[in-house]
């Protein structure tokens, strides 16, 4: 039989011996993640900051270090306010209509119907996310083609008797970029909300039914309250990804007509790689990084995301 003192000695010895092991474990387990984060997130930001203080342009030669790029951002670029306004409409519109609301509707409806049909419809809505973005946009280009061969025009002209084909890329480009992004974006919310709905104990729905709740009351009083955290998460995550992604817009409208669908991230791209103003692009990108961090922090506080993160269940040494 060991006395308490013995046990304490064993414990102490164990702890001092584990200090070196703890360092090794840290390197083994966290090392790869730290290296990747530094390499692909920290280093690019540093390079971006450095480039933004140069006059790097198409010649790829730095002749001087300057703050002129920032003067441009704040003083001379008159297009910037329009771009920011559009970005707001694009991000907010896509989120509010598709990524959160429509994702929620999809999750609620596909979990309410029979499992087989529910999975089928969820599968259908996942397809655009699974297809390569170029292929997906090619289909869109065909669908909204301004000729009579375009899918939308075929439907409108044959089923609704429209006389001349519509040119949606010119007449409703903002709606198009919101819809084409939203069709993909909705599936992420759908999947997260679906799994959250599945996680609600069935007895709660049974209890609500016995207590007198109908379908909509069950959604309002049982489902939605249980989705508070997933909704917060999807909102923040999608805000950030919508802010920085532009490949669908680039492929579909190339930011046009003129600058009508050029959101901030695409504007950075066009300035840097189309106009060859690398220094200016870097300065603009820096603001995107700052905005991203600010949005993430606001979201973190506003939605109380910290409560989402659970403490580890085991003690790690």
């Amino acid at each position: 039989m060991t006395s308490i003192a013995d046990e304490l000695t064993i414990e102490r010895r164990g702890h001092s011996g584990s200090a070196a092991r703890r360092r090794t474990n840290f390197v083994i387990f966290l090392g790869p993640a730290v290296v990747l984060t530094v390499l692909f997130f920290v280093v690019p930001v540093v390079i971006d900051i450095a480039v933004s203080f140069t006059d790097l342009s198409r010649s790829l030669r730095i002749s001087e270090f300057t703050t002129e790029q920032y003067e441009k951002v704040f003083r001379t670029d008159r297009r910037l306010s329009q771009v920011i306004g559009l970005t707001f409409i694009y991000v907010f519109g896509t989120l509010a209509i598709f990524n959160v609301t429509f994702g929620l509707i999809l999750a609620v409806t596909t979990t309410a119907i029979r499992n087989v049909s529910g999975s089928f419809f969820r599968g259908v809505w996942l397809l655009p996310r699974m297809s390569p973005s170029v292929l997906y946009i090619l289909l869109w280009l065909w669908a909204v083609s301004p000729t009579e061969a375009g899918l939308v025009n075929q439907v409108l002209m044959q089923a609704f008797g429209l006389d001349a084909p519509l040119d949606l890329l010119t007449s409703a480009p903002i709606a198009l970029i919101i819809i084409s992004n939203g069709f993909i974006g909705a599936s992420m919310g759908m999947i997260i909300f679906t799994s959250a709905i599945r996680g609600i104990p069935e007895h709660l729905f049974h209890a609500a039914a016995v207590d007198g709740a109908g379908t909509f009351a069950k959604i309002r009083f049982i489902t939605l309250p249980a989705l508070r955290w997933p909704i917060s998460f999807v909102t923040i995550y999608q805000t950030l990804s919508l802010l920085v992604s532009f490949e669908y817009i680039l492929l579909l409208t190339k930011g046009g007509p003129f600058y009508d669908t050029t959101v901030y991230a695409l504007y950075v791209y066009r300035r840097a790689f189309e106009s060859g103003q690398y220094g200016y692009g870097a300065a603009l990108a820096l603001f995107l990084i700052v905005i991203g961090v600010v949005v993430a922090l606001i979201g973190w506080r506003f939605f109380d995301m910290e409560r989402l993160l659970q403490r580890p269940r085991i003690e790690v040494h």
Binding site: H206, V210, D211, G212, A213
Partner: protein, 354 residues
């Protein structure tokens, strides 16, 4: 209050027939228990009463009206689930208030009713808390208050005590029973625990594999179990069942023999541990194990017909392991079953040879 009737009720889930044909009448104001092992269809029956499941066939009647297609929310039943199923994001007050929300009860009246229901189950001081801040026993009371607040015509309890610790279970048993006496609401309790059923219910419906084995008072089931299954299910520690062959008034079991009256053929003799006495007469055996249970002592005795459980009153063991003893019993306490049909042979008894 309502009188409940199952008429040839069938419940299928896909191709699986969980309840083949159920017939049962529960009188107005009665407290009945659906008792059986897990998977026997007792919870399914309860959920059909609640309207959560709809019967696949037959008729379910409340006060003579067929309610097969009536939705859960229109049945005016209260239910307490095994997990309590309290709404996690609502305060206790809102939880209890929830059923009244859909009855369009005026706010003041509703709050008064919530207060009354909370007082009834003694959770009045917890109204502002969340379910996660309550102990198991408190959650269970809140669930009861929520079930009772709308003054249901039928109260359903689905294994309400199984998540409570032993001492709390005992006091909740008493409380639920006195609540029933006070309110007089028709109550159906689902349980797999025979003690819960026998202590609380006026009548017990013992179920097995979707069929009703026996309906009766706790005494009926204990003293006159209609089948081997009921005999084995009711009583703790479980009854000794000894299979043998009867010929010319004698049952022979391996080495031992009983004298039997009123039966012949393949029989199973049932002897409850509490009816057996260790003494000078009866069949012989050797004490293999002693299990003190507080007020009583359980002896496991090795005999010619296998291990037999004997329950003796008293807190200290009068015999020791390995001792040779004789086990006797009163013939009127013995039960005799037909082995093939597993049914009780009424009036048949056995006695140990002198």
């Amino acid at each position: 209050m309502a009188k409940i009737e199952f008429r040839n009720v069938v419940k299928r889930f896909g191709a699986v027939e969980v309840i083949p044909d159920m017939n049962l009448v529960i009188e107005d104001g009665e407290f009945v228990a659906l008792l059986g092992p897990s998977g026997c269809g007792k919870s399914t029956s309860l959920f059909m009463l609640a309207g959560i499941y709809l019967p696949s066939g037959g008729e379910l009647l409340f006060d003579g009206h067929i309610v097969n297609e009536v939705e859960a929310r229109d049945r005016n039943v209260g239910i307490v689930f095994q997990s309590y199923a309290l709404y996690p994001h609502m305060s206790v007050r809102d939880n209890i208030l929830f059923p009244l929300r859909f009855k369009k009860t005026p706010r003041d009246e509703a709050l008064a009713k919530v207060k009354a229901a909370a007082d009834l189950v003694r959770v009045a001081e917890l109204l502002d808390r969340r379910p996660s801040e309550l102990s198991g026993g408190q959650q269970q009371r809140v669930a009861l208050a929520r079930a009772l607040v709308k003054e249901p015509q039928l109260l359903l309890l689905d294994e309400p005590l199984s998540n409570l610790d032993a001492s709390l279970r005992l006091s909740m048993r008493t409380e639920i029973k006195s609540l029933h006496a006070q309110l007089g609401v028709t109550t159906v309790l689902v349980t797999h625990d025979q003690i819960e059923a026998t202590t609380m219910a006026d009548r017990i419906i013992c179920m097995r594999a979707g069929r009703i084995e026996q309906v009766g008072t706790p005494d009926d089931l204990y003293l006159r179990p209609s089948s081997l299954f009921v005999a084995g299910f009711i009583g703790s520690p479980p009854i000794n069942l000894i299979a043998g062959e009867a010929e010319a008034g004698t049952v022979t079991v391996d080495g031992a023999r009983f004298l039997v009256e009123g039966a012949s053929g393949a029989l199973t003799v049932g002897l409850r541990p509490e009816h057996l006495r260790i003494g000078d007469t009866g069949f012989a055996g050797r004490i293999a194990q002693i299990e003190p249970m507080g007020r009583e002592i359980l002896y496991v005795v090795e005999t010619g017909m296998g291990a037999v459980r004997v329950l003796e009153q008293g807190s200290s063991a009068g015999y020791s392991t390995g001792e040779q003893v004789k086990i006797g019993f009163l013939p009127e306490n013995s039960l005799v079953f037909e082995t093939a049909r597993q049914k009780l042979i009424a009036g048949a008894h056995v006695r140990a040879p002198a």
